[in-house]
């Protein structure tokens, strides 16, 4: 099972570190990454593999969403199929 993680927030030191730290702790592998700074806002997108994840989906989601409070990064995680399904036949 794969998922797409997207995040937007003010750019600061250590944003990627915190996101990937959570993913590593849960044994989630990052397969693709893109990031850019748009008018001072950090925006990132990741494709991750959840097949060997050591927690359940909602725990991972809660932890990623808690980054909004911690470092001001608004993070969403959604299963990849929703994007594939809506954008291609």
């Amino acid at each position: 099972m794969k998922a797409v993680i997207t995040g937007v927030g003010m750019d600061k030191v250590g944003i990627f570190y915190r996101v990937t730290q959570i993913l590593a702790e849960k044994n989630v592998n990052v397969e693709d990454i893109s990031q850019t700074i748009l008018q001072g806002y950090f925006t990132m997108m990741m494709l991750v593999d959840l097949s060997r994840m050591t927690c359940d989906f909602s725990q991972l989601k809660d932890q990623l969403e808690s980054l909004e409070k911690e470092i001001g990064l608004s993070v969403r995680i959604q299963r990849e199929e929703i994007f594939n399904y809506m954008q291609s036949i």
Binding site: T6, E31, M45, K61, I82, F83, Y85, M86
Partner: protein, 452 residues
């Protein structure tokens, strides 16, 4: 990896443009609950619904969480109760409505549809009793929805039923007068009702349906409107093309969710209803789509043409996206549930007669229209007859869900709350149709029904 732009587009559709799955509706057959004892039948009904639907809300929430797409309602439709209760010998089916309501509360769904009767060609014993039970059943229950099919293209219009429904709607309005006659918002009178419609208040599980089934209703007026903002001033075939593409994407999201719910619950996936269903929230309005096409206000001359284009393009996009399109599939025009419609009624652009014209090209009918509380039974019956005629002649589903709000008149507003919204009371034609309605009998099926 999917292109970044596509990912951002999907997220924008969900977050900014209010794309959602409007409803997952589980259809459950109650045929095996029929019993000569009403008490026993109701116990079986309660047990069966709570057994099959116990995980419906949980699974819906899980999928919403994982895919990040809101699933607004989880609902249940059941076999028309007139068929189930007829064996009981009871002269009132309130107990059945109560059993449905209790089961709905137990499993946590917000509506349960199927307190229904199909009387397009005549009344069977249970049908009459069920219809007479509707007003008090809707008064005494919270989540039960009721529908009556009074006409279809093969049988014509049962004018005795049409006459009766005028009385039933007025009684329901009176019994729920303390809540702006809310009971009528849960009662639909159909022509050409469909057996697999997932949308309330008209959902029921038809006799030709399987034991259990998952039907999904998608929505997304906001997404369509935003897509049209990008083609301002372009010719209408470009508008149609744009709506089609958008409907495709919306439908695909519904198809994915439907498949997933079906897999997790172990219940077959029935149909996807790709209706554009508005809500009273800003940015979730069908009227605003029509205005985006270039009308000053919904209801202006040109509205029927714009709605016809919209309805057809939505169907075309959706059919490409899913192999099992069904239900009503098109654009809904419920007045109280659409912020743009409410505004158009308030500023005088949208009238009752224009709404009637619009129903000849939309996917359902006169929906969630508040009318004066002193509107006569025969006028309501005549409204139903007009609407049924449009459905029967054009081979389409039409429906009437009008609310004669007790004690209120033109200039007042009725408040229904939540997704049901609020509505300014609209004037109806003051001239009488009483003699016409009192004739009763049947309007024969149209000549083009003799296809065989």
């Amino acid at each position: 990896m999917v292109l970044n732009n596509n990912i951002y587009e999907t997220i924008r559709m969900i977050e900014k443009e209010k794309l959602d799955i409007r409803t997952i509706t589980m259809g459950i057959s109650l045929m095996d609950c029929i019993n000569s004892s009403a008490g026993e039948a109701c116990r079986r009904i309660y047990d069966k619904i709570t057994r099959f639907a116990c995980d419906l809300v949980k699974v819906g929430n899980e999928i919403e969480n994982e895919y990040g797409i809101p699933i607004i309602n989880k609902r249940i439709s059941v076999t028309p109760i007139a068929l189930i209760a007829a064996a009981s010998g009871e002269d009132h089916y309130g107990e059945y409505a109560k059993a449905l309501d209790d089961a709905a509360k137990e499993v946590g769904v917000n509506f349960i549809g199927g307190f229904s009767a199909l009387v397009h060609k005549g009344f069977a014993k249970g049908d009459k009793i069920l219809i007479e039970s509707i007003p008090s059943a809707l008064q005494e229950t919270e989540r039960v929805c009721s529908s009556v099919n009074v006409a279809n293209s093969k049988a014509g219009i049962n004018m005795d039923a049409v006459k009766l429904m005028g009385k039933i709607i007025k009684q329901t309005a009176y019994l729920t007068r303390d809540r702006d006659s809310l009971g009528c918002a849960k009662l639909v009178v159909f022509a050409n009702a469909v057996e697999d419609n997932p949308f309330m208040a008209g959902a029921y599980h038809g006799a030709g349906e399987p034991e259990t089934v998952i039907n999904v209703g998608v929505s997304g007026p906001g997404v369509v409107k935003c897509a049209l903002e990008k083609v301002k001033g372009e010719p209408l075939q470009i508008v149609a093309e744009n709506i089609k593409k958008t409907a495709f994407k919306i439908t695909r999201a519904g198809q994915l969710v439907g498949n997933e719910v079906s897999k997790r619950l172990g219940i077959p996936f029935g149909i996807l209803d790709l209706s554009l269903a508005p809500t009273p929230a800003i940015g979730d309005s069908v009227a605003r789509i029509l205005e985006e096409m270039g009308l000053e206000a919904c209801g202006a001359h040109g509205t029927t043409a714009a709605l016809a284009l919209l309805n057809d393009a939505v169907k075309k996009g959706g059919i490409m996206a899913s192999s099992s399109v069904g239900g009503l599939s098109g654009a809904f025009i419920p007045v109280s549930e659409d912020e743009g419609m409410i505004a158009a009624v308030k500023n005088g652009a949208l009238t009752f007669d224009k709404l009637e014209a619009m129903t000849s090209v939309c996917s359902v009918g006169l929906d969630m229209i508040a009318i004066p509380g002193d509107t006569s039974e025969s006028t309501i019956s005549a409204i139903i007859a007009d609407e049924a005629a449009i459905g029967v002649i054009n081979n389409k589903t039409t429906a009437v869900r009008v609310i004669p709000v007790y004690g209120k008149n033109v200039g007042d507003t009725a408040e229904f709350g939540g997704l049901l919204g609020y509505a300014p009371i609209m004037p109806v034609n003051p001239f009488s149709a009483e003699e016409f309605v009192n004739r009763g009998g049947r309007i024969p099926a149209p000549v083009h029904s003799f296809k065989n």
